[in-house]
């Protein structure tokens, strides 16, 4: 995954001001930074939920949102962007489980409707994904019957069931009660250990230290610092990073 000089405006706000980063297959990258620094927007641009104004985002060698055809750049059609997004899983801060479906329906909906698996195969894949997050017994529960932590684990399973190349996590534990955070981080750790490529926006410094191959610090729409977790977290070379870490701790 390569992100090259990406700029993004929302209205008059210049949210991303030239972001450069790359993530190797299987790499786990944690993105830290104060709120409003453009972390979430960056994730939304990576899977094409938001279009970028300039620069390029590439995932698995394909450019997000555009394609080259006979030397001319074309905007993706709705269908093409959907095809691109299915390769990129996303986990949201507020879970966003489909409230009118059970946990199993949530998880097997993508495989069934988007990947076109048979009903039985989709169910099997869904149960498999629920098993990975330890919620096989909640298959028949509706989101409103689950705790926040369980909902987020189902949301992770929903993404996993699509067998994506990359998974993006947008502050997955920020909306959870403190005692539920651990379960979700545990599940994310397991996903990481299975070799998934992950970009995690988080405030959980402990998780970043333990799991991340690399930590990126963002501020005011730019990558300020990037490097191995231990280096960025314990020995930040930039004043703003050090300042932020002091506040988080």
């Amino acid at each position: 995954m390569v992100i090259d000089d990406v700029h993004k405006w929302l209205g008059k706000n210049h949210i991303l001001r030239g972001v450069n980063m790359s993530v190797a297959p299987g790499e786990i990258v944690c993105v830290l930074g104060p709120s409003g620094s453009g972390k979430s927007t960056l994730l939304r641009c990576i899977n094409g939920l938001e279009a970028v104004e300039s620069g390029t985002v590439e995932v698995g060698g394909d450019r997000v949102g555009y394609k080259m055809h006979k030397g001319q750049l074309f905007e993706h059609t709705e269908r093409e962007s959907a095809r691109m997004r299915r390769r990129i899983g996303m986990v949201f801060q507020h879970f966003n489980l489909f409230t009118h479906m059970t946990a199993l329906e949530n998880v097997s909906y993508g495989p069934r409707r988007v990947l076109g698996l048979s009903k039985a195969k989709a169910k099997e894949q869904g149960l498999d994904a629920l098993g990975k997050v330890g919620l096989k017994d909640k298959a028949g529960s509706y989101p409103a019957q689950l705790s926040g932590g369980q909902q987020q684990r189902v949301a992770i399973a929903r993404s996993l069931a699509m067998k994506p190349q990359v998974m993006l996590f947008d502050e997955p534990t920020s909306a959870l009660d403190p005692e539920l955070v651990g379960d979700v981080l545990q599940v994310m750790k397991r996903v990481a250990e299975e070799g998934m490529t992950m970009v995690v926006v988080t405030h959980e410094i402990g998780f970043a230290r333990e799991v991340a191959d690399r930590v990126i610090f963002m501020d005011e729409g730019r990558v300020i610092e990037s490097g191995p977790a231990a280096q960025v977290l314990d020995n930040p070379s930039h004043e703003r990073t050090a300042n932020f870490l002091r506040h988080v701790r």
Binding site: E78, A82, R85, I88, F92, F98, T99, A144
Partner: protein, 306 residues
């Protein structure tokens, strides 16, 4: 000396508070007043010879009245169905990124909500003046009292329903669309399969209210002889001049129809309550609880996440 809470006292849990109860003079006065007024009203009716109860009985189940009831029901049900279909289209237009579609949608709602229903009914009935022929057919042949009423009711209702449905769509959080997109749905698919099914739950209760309103509004069709319940009533009293007894018949039937619709609405609301998924109960249990009035232990409820 009165024991304020005899049930508690008799259970022996607590001695009860030993205090003299105050007399509710205000409540006594209101009660007396209400009973007096009600008695006056009943006496004025019972003693009134113009109110011919035997005629009410005679016409209550008259075939002409039944025909009117059938037409009233047809008008209400069909125009509700047509208006819901139209309203979905208009609501989506209003939400569209296409500016022209959005403006046209807003204009549609503005017009059909703004013009009084009776005026709309009269316009449709007099369409022949504007277009003497439609698709080669004589307009006056095509537009009967019924069809004019159906068109007017459907279109006027669709204006209101469009707003209700638009509100329903807006009530589904944007995150639902994002999540749908993130598993590879297109925007259209996310709208159809994720957002709209959740909209249904939100719009069911107000739609029930609209239907009850429509049931009553359909009586306006009598202005053009739409052969609905009120038209038929007028037809009979136009001949025998028993105006009040027949209006009582119409009143009774409208109340019955509205009551039945209200009961239906109640069940629909229960079944599609906003946190319906969490508290969905089998229909049999609903009957037990709401019709047979039997209690049963509440299912555990969890708060819905924001």
């Amino acid at each position: 000396m009165t024991i304020l809470d005899p049930t508690r006292a008799s259970h022996g849990h607590a001695p009860g508070i030993q205090a003299k109860r105050r007399k509710p003079y205000g409540q006594m006065a209101t009660g007396t007043l209400i009973v007096a007024i009600a008695a006056l009203f009943v006496w004025s009716q019972a003693a009134n010879e113009n109110l011919d109860w035997s005629s009410v009985g005679e016409f209550m189940f008259h075939p002409v009245i039944f025909k009117g009831i059938a037409v009233t029901l047809e008008l209400s049900v069909f125009s509700m169905l047509i208006s819901v279909v139209l309203a979905f289209g208009v609501a989506l237009m209003c939400q569209s990124k296409n500016r022209l579609a959005a403006v046209v949608g807003r204009l549609y709602v503005w017009f059909f909500r703004g013009v009084p229903l009776l005026v709309q009914i009269l316009i449709w009935f007099n369409l022949a003046v504007l277009f003497p022929k439609i698709l080669g057919a004589d307009t006056n042949q095509l537009i009967s009292g019924f069809t004019a009423g159906l068109c007017a009711l459907s279109l006027a209702e669709s204006g209101y329903m469009a707003e209700i449905i638009r509100g329903g769509i807006l009530s589904v959080s944007k995150g639902q669309t994002d999540a749908g997109l993130s598993i590879g749905l297109t925007r259209g698919q996310a709208l159809r399969r994720i957002v709209l099914p959740q909209t249904i739950r939100v719009i069911i209760p107000p739609t029930g209210n609209q239907f009850i309103g429509l049931l009553k509004a359909s009586s306006l069709v009598s202005a053009i002889g739409g052969s609905d319940l009120l038209t038929q009533t007028q037809l009979i009293y136009g001949q025998n001049f028993k105006i009040v007894p027949l209006l009582i018949v119409a009143t009774a039937w409208y109340l019955i129809l509205v009551s039945v619709a209200s009961i239906g609405q109640y069940f629909l609301e229960q079944k599609f309550s906003p946190d319906g998924a969490a508290t969905r109960r089998p229909f049999r249990e609903l009957i037990r609880r709401n019709v047979l009035l039997r209690n049963h232990p509440d299912l555990p409820r969890k708060a819905v996440q924001p």
